[in-house]
């Protein structure tokens, strides 16, 4: 464990050497001078959209799709009748909607330019570790700068490409589901993404193929006022299984940046998709993401979602349970520190008999941080044997921390059952006292207690992520007591 001796409150960002985890906190505070070959400029107009589409050499139907989305984005009001007014602080005219260094996705590590390798190193992902990854789709701003699919995966027939490639080279596969799980007009930000998307992963796993190692992608934002709008579509054919992981870090900038992704999952009969996110954007990023999956008969979709960074995150991963006995699950961890609002949750739309869903959400509010759970569970008419279980627990660390819970549950008919439970508490004084009795500082005890609170969820993450998560929590908890 740690050997921290002081519990004074100090702004975390100022801590250079951190004895708790050995992580250099300034590591994320960098930016590179990058020569962008393509730059759509600031602001959003039809011209911007046409520029993006031309640069990407897209088929006419994609341009049409983008232009239609732009219209819907402009027509839709901000959802501030239910969401936070902080959304009004996004200045869409100051955002860059497309930047690209113009590089083609790289196939081998050797081909990756040195300065980009240096970036990865500072992100804490050493080269030798990457070689063990099944496939790395590291997004360098808008385009994938590095992409490596391990031989085994491609031999199995798995397609793992970026969105531009996916739509260009495999339209027969991806067009069928592209924009179908999350329609363009689903919400203002899905419309925005549909208009200006670039980057992200398109994955197809053929029938019966079980991808043994998780596919992984790193995203980061590296230009002031630059919004990132990646688009991901994963299709698991009948009986296929795949796990996808994304993690993100971002350099810190003084003006707000916007990240607005759309992620669509399709699990055909008997397929399983697990989608894992560890989100750690800088505290000036608006992270407004739409994530939804469709689970067909006996298929299973599981979202594991962890939000630690950003200024405002609004993200409610959903599953449409379309086939009999489909199963949906959302495991959510949110940590909100000073100046942060984690507005996260889950949506479960039951659309077939005997479908089951499970939501477990845990949030921690530190300092003046605010965490919100927002959920929808919908069981329409004449279904039978549907079940939902929802648990939300909130932990408040400081006396001025804030938490909200806003679930919405609709059940029709007598043959289904739903249960929802939520609780709010603080760290048990007795537990802290007990640990201090045994020689731990208050800070260490608090950290241990908070880690204990999310332990049963953190265990479900892949090992390296849960270790990282634990370190991040140690860091966030430091200075929160005393």
């Amino acid at each position: 464990m740690s050997d921290v001796t002081e519990t004074e409150s100090a702004p975390i960002a100022d801590t250079v050497d951190n004895p708790v985890s050995g992580i250099d906190q300034t590591a994320g505070n960098f930016s590179y001078k990058v020569d962008y070959e393509f730059d759509a400029g600031t602001g959003l107009s039809e011209k911007t959209v046409r520029y993006i589409s031309t640069v990407k050499k897209e088929a006419p139907w994609i341009l049409e799709f983008r232009l239609n989305a732009l219209k819907q984005f402009l027509a839709k009001p901000m959802p501030t009748h239910w969401a936070t007014k902080d959304l009004e602080n996004i200045n869409f005219d100051k955002i860059r909607y497309y930047l690209s260094s113009g590089q083609k996705p790289k196939r081998t590590w050797e081909e990756v330019p040195d300065d980009i390798k240096k970036t990865f190193e500072r992100l804490g992902v050493p080269e030798h570790e990457r070689k063990f990854l099944a496939g790395v789709e590291a997004q360098f701003d808008s385009e994938a700068a590095y992409s490596n699919i391990k031989d085994i995966v491609s031999k199995q027939g798995v397609i793992f490409v970026n969105s531009t490639e996916g739509l260009r080279e495999h339209p027969e596969l991806f067009r069928k589901f592209f924009g179908k799980v999350i329609p363009t007009g689903d919400n203002k930000f899905s419309a925005l993404n549909s208009a200006v998307f670039s980057g992200g992963s398109f994955i197809y796993v053929p029938k019966g193929v079980k991808v043994a190692q998780p596919l992984q992608a790193y995203f980061r934002i590296n230009a002031e006022n630059f919004g990132q709008f990646e688009r991901t579509l994963i299709i698991a054919d009948e009986g296929a299984e795949v796990t996808y992981m994304e993690g993100c870090t971002a350099p810190k900038f003084s003006t707000s940046t916007l990240h607005s992704a759309v992620v669509e999952l399709v699990a055909l009969k008997g397929a399983k998709i697990q989608y894992i996110t560890v989100q750690n954007w800088a505290n000036n990023v608006f992270n407004l993401v739409t994530k939804r999956g469709v689970a067909h008969e006996e298929a299973e979709i599981k979202w594991i979602d962890c939000n630690i960074g950003s200024r405002l995150t609004m993200k409610y991963p959903g599953v449409v349970l379309k086939g009999r006995k489909a199963r949906g699950e959302v495991i959510s961890i949110a940590l909100a520190n000073d100046g942060q609002h984690q507005d996260t949750g889950a949506k479960m739309i039951h659309a077939a008999d005997e479908t089951t869903s499970n939501i477990v959400a845990k949030s921690i509010s530190v300092g003046q941080g605010r965490s919100t759970y927002r959920g929808v569970v919908h069981i329409p008419k004449h279904l039978k044997g549907c079940k939902n279980n929802t648990e939300c627990d909130a932990l408040l660390i400081n006396s001025n921390s804030r938490t909200d819970t806003y679930p919405a549950i609709t059940v029709r008919g007598e043959r289904n059952s739903v249960q929802h439970e939520a609780s709010v508490s603080k760290v048990s004084e007795e537990q802290i006292f007990y640990m201090q009795q045994r020689g731990l500082t208050e800070g260490q005890a608090m950290s241990l207690s908070v880690n204990g609170f999310i332990n049963d969820l953190a265990r479900q993450f892949p090992m390296e992520y849960s270790v990282e998560l634990k370190r991040l929590i140690d860091l966030e908890m430091e200075g929160s007591v005393g």
């Binding site: 008419k381 006396s399 549950i409 007598e414 289904n416 939520a422 709010v424 603080k426």
Partner: protein
């Protein structure tokens, strides 16, 4: 407000035209000027406010097309004989019967209670005789839960209601009962009950809302409770309007130091009924027990919105709302616990249980929390499911037919709420009302 732009066809006003308001105002012109001014202000607010919109979060899931304001009128006076007023079979400390916004019968409180300073009379009397007391409390808590327009209409058109004042230390064992009737086609009624409980008092007040006949009525009522230091107040409302009635009822409860308020709402009648309940826990030791039972059948819609605001440390609240759904009925429960930044040691609970007794019924739950203090215990839960198959099987295995077993289990489901009433005759009277709803007399 410019009158020419308003026409009879304006759906935001419906039957409630400026002419109707002028006629009402003339009928209450003998009341104090401050009150008439407030009514005029409220009328302007009613005209200015729009009807609820689909994007209003406080009306989420509600059937907005049902909120039509036309076809109603301020009804003429009726005689008690025309009401079919049935006794509820409980001994009372006093009784007021209102029909179509007027007092039609009463049983005054005993001379002894009067001597102690207890006031139990009409709001009109109180406005004339106890002006300052009424002025400080009447409609003093602004609505916060979405019914601002209907609350303004209530204030503008409120003609009469019940006024209860309990001076310091007085305890009344028997309940004070208030009946509110609507009679005649299109009758619009504005029931009101105001209870002011001074320190150390104890009393039970019961409101009965009823329709004479099965006409389409419009009810827009309000009941406000003030519980001062150490007061123990029990409030019961039994709503049984006709099945064609559109009803809005809002409650405000203010609990001060060590006050304990128990409010139980029984919802049986109405076509579309909205109930808003707003509890403010203002000082340490205050406790609010918020209970409700709804039996929804046919195409009835019950929309219940609750707000528990903990404004001071060491306060507690406990909410239990149970709905039984039959036919193609629809219920909405939307609750919110708010813990203010300084309200440490709050203990708040909120629970919504829906018993689904039909495959066409729809239950919506929106249990919410907004917590801004860390040293609190706040939990909520919501469940929707049918009768427990194992319990049903257990009873059937002991020779009880399925229909009887279901009825027993359904009443068992209600009993968790009803058993919190510390008054056996009242408890039995409420069960009697529920039984009639399940097995209506032919």
């Amino acid at each position: 407000m410019s009158a020419p732009s308003l026409t009879l066809a304006d759906p935001a006003i419906g039957s409630f035209t400026p002419e109707l308001f002028a006629a009402h105002l003339a009928s209450v012109s003998h009341l104090p000027a401050w009150w008439l001014d407030r009514k005029r202000e409220a009328w302007a607010r009613f005209l200015a406010l729009p009807l609820p919109k689909r994007t209003d979060e406080s009306w989420r899931f509600a059937t907005l097309t049902g909120l039509k304001l036309d076809g109603y009128t301020l009804p003429p006076a009726v005689t008690p004989a025309g009401l079919g007023h049935a006794p509820i079979g409980i001994a009372k400390a006093g009784k007021l019967v209102f029909a179509n916004n007027r007092l039609v019968a009463q049983e005054p409180i005993s001379a002894e209670l009067t001597k102690q300073g207890v006031i139990f009379e009409t709001l009109q009397h109180a406005l004339l005789k106890h002006g300052d007391l009424v002025k400080a409390h009447l409609l003093a808590q602004p609505p916060k839960q979405g019914s601002e327009k209907f609350s303004a209409l209530h204030t503008a058109l409120l003609a009469d209601g019940a006024f209860v004042y309990l001076p310091k230390g007085v305890e009344i064992a028997l309940p004070l009962a208030v009946f509110h009737y609507a009679a005649g086609a299109g009758a619009a009624v504005f029931p009101h009950t105001l209870v002011i409980a001074e320190p150390g008092t104890k009393a039970t007040v019961v409101d009965f809302f009823r329709s004479a006949g099965d006409g389409a009525h419009f009810a827009c009522g309000r009941n406000d409770l003030y519980a001062s230091h150490g007061a123990a107040l029990t409030y019961v409302a039994a709503q049984n309007w006709s099945r064609a009635t559109l009803s809005f009822q809002s409650n405000s409860t203010v609990a001060r130091r060590d006050a304990r308020v128990l409010a139980l709402n029984l919802h049986l009648g109405g076509r579309q009924s909205r109930h808003e309940s707003h509890s403010q826990l203002q000082a340490p030791g205050a406790h609010s027990e918020m209970l409700a039972l709804t039996v929804a059948h046919g195409t009835q819609e019950f929309d219940q919105r609750t707000l528990q605001i903990h404004q001071a440390p060491h306060t507690s609240s406990n909410l239990l709302y149970k709905n039984a759904l039959l036919g193609s009925a629809k219920t909405i429960f939307s609750g919110l616990i708010v813990v203010d930044p300084d309200a440490q040691k709050t203990d708040a609970y909120q629970s919504n249980r829906n018993l689904m007794l039909s495959d066409d019924a729809e239950a919506n739950s929106l249990p919410g929390l907004e917590i801004q203090a860390n040293d609190v215990r706040c939990t909520h839960g919501a469940t929707s499911s049918r009768i427990d198959a194992e319990q049903e099987f257990y009873l059937q295995a002991r020779g009880i037919p399925k229909a009887d077993a279901d009825e027993l289990l359904t009443f068992g489901f209600f009993e968790e709420v009803l058993s919190k009433l510390d008054h056996a005759p009242l408890h039995d009277a409420l069960i009697g009302l529920i039984k009639i709803k399940f097995n209506p007399p032919v």
